[in-house]
Symmetry: C2
């Protein structure tokens, strides 16, 4: 699972905060941005992707979606990574 600088880690903030973070990363020059959510934030990660695609007028496309689980203590927490790429017009 990725831990690079082009990762937007989904937490408790509103969806639009993460959409903005992703747009800023694209504007910094990253071709790809990874939207990463775990546990109950997974559905918000999908929300962020949908809002981003809507905001950029479908100017993004999905490269790959990874799902996995990570151990936290004795529990397994589900994780999603949505890798998106800016589509060149």
């Amino acid at each position: 699972m990725a831990s690079a600088e082009n990762v937007v880690v989904i937490g408790k903030k509103p969806v639009m905060d993460y959409v903005l973070a992703a747009i800023l990363l694209f504007n910094e020059g990253y071709d790809e941005v990874i939207i990463r959510g775990q546990g109950s934030n997974i559905s918000k990660a999908v929300d962020v992707y949908n809002a981003l695609a809507h905001r950029l007028q479908d100017g993004v496309e999905i490269v790959k979606i990874n799902i996995d689980s990570i151990e936290r203590g004795r529990r397994l927490i589900p994780v999603i990574e949505i890798i998106v790429r800016r589509r060149i017009a």
Copy 2:
């Protein structure tokens, strides 16, 4: 988005119920099974996939993961479909 007979729609039951449902579909002869979750059940859909992969000793592989949103009233609900295939040994 799919609505065929090989779809396991994730709801409020325990994860293992859906894992069992998926295994039963494979045993009925379906090559592929779709695990579908929406809204807050998206993370449970990922849980179900992880538990299924663990239970079948990696005897399944992901064909594709689709994410989208559906309208419910005025709200957009995020949706995930995890399409899995039984791996032939």
